[in-house]
């Protein structure tokens, strides 16, 4: 039957695919360095969610922040008492 022949041909095509010649080396490297494991998916998802949360938090805080009122508070100092020039100009004191 055509269907069975097509399935057989499909399977034959897949069976012709060979693994990478370095696969054994890759496996041995992973076994010899057990610390180098791929992060599980939930970790990647958690990392992505954390970054998104940090960005949104930044935007939120940026919107909430209201800058300090810019009314200028200057200090008016009359230093005429400190430097009493008039004192030196009094001729009668000489």
């Amino acid at each position: 039957m055509n269907i069975e022949k097509d399935i057989q041909e499909y399977i034959l095509r897949e069976k012709k695919i060979n693994p990478n010649p370095w696969l054994a080396t890759r496996i041995m490297t992973r076994i010899e360095t057990p610390g180098q494991r791929m992060a599980p998916r939930w970790q990647s998802a958690f990392l992505a969610a954390s970054i998104l949360f940090a960005v949104l938090l930044g935007i939120g805080l940026g919107k909430v922040y209201s800058p300090v009122s810019e009314t200028y508070a200057g200090l008016s100092i009359d230093d005429s008492d400190i430097e009493g020039f008039a004192y030196f100009n009094l001729e009668s004191d000489e």
Binding site: E4, K5, I7, Y10, E14, K15, N20, R26, I27
Partner: protein, 185 residues
């Protein structure tokens, strides 16, 4: 050197001998994985994971069964888990695909090319195999991809030969039904 001798040596501390087992059985594991995932990259990753699992549990191998049978069991369990996990993580898969499209136009181009090369007929066959119930799919893959006899499959799956034959017949009937309208016309 027999498999059992190699395993004994490994358990005694000669760990580099594990490479002999990897080199001997990698094609077998890869072919089975291909039957479940239909992608070279996924099958390679799966093969790697399977050998790491075998390595980690090598001390539990008692030698009651042949090493290849033991490895087949690990392979099948890992493949089924991978497929189930993929089904559950479909949302993450879509997100990943979207991210790839966004940041990696080269890989997208390759994917599109691969998709174009895969005819409608091939997609239909792949989907039909993937939609089989787990036991039927396992028996079908072991029979069609690994060319194992029903007796060997029965030992691996710890079932009777009659049960394996029945599962295989059902798998073939289901495939014929599913593909009746899309293939061979």
């Amino acid at each position: 050197m027999s498999d059992q001798q190699v395993i004994d040596e490994i358990l005694l501390g000669n760990q580099s001998l594990f490479r002999l087992l990897v080199e001997k059985y990698q094609s077998m594991v890869f072919t089975t994985a291909m039957g479940f995932v239909h992608s070279k990259e996924d099958a390679e990753d799966l093969t790697q994971d399977i050998f790491v699992k075998a390595w980690e549990s090598l001390s539990t191998f008692k030698g009651d069964a042949v090493f290849s049978t033991w490895l087949y069991r690990i392979t099948i369990n890992s493949c089924i888990n991978h497929v189930e996990k993929k089904k559950r993580n479909i949302f993450l898969e879509l997100a990943e695909e979207w991210m790839n499209k966004l940041f990696n136009s080269e890989s997208t181009a390759k994917d599109s090319q691969q998709q174009m090369e895969e005819t409608e007929q091939e997609v239909a066959i792949r989907r039909a195999i993937d939609s089989l119930p787990v036991n039927q799919r396992t028996v079908f893959v072991l029979s069609a991809y690994d060319e194992l006899s029903q007796k060997e499959i029965a030992v691996i799956m710890q079932r009777t030969e009659g049960a394996v034959e029945q599962l295989l017949q059902r798998a073939k009937t289901n495939l014929r039904k599913k593909l009746a309208h899309s293939v061979g016309n």
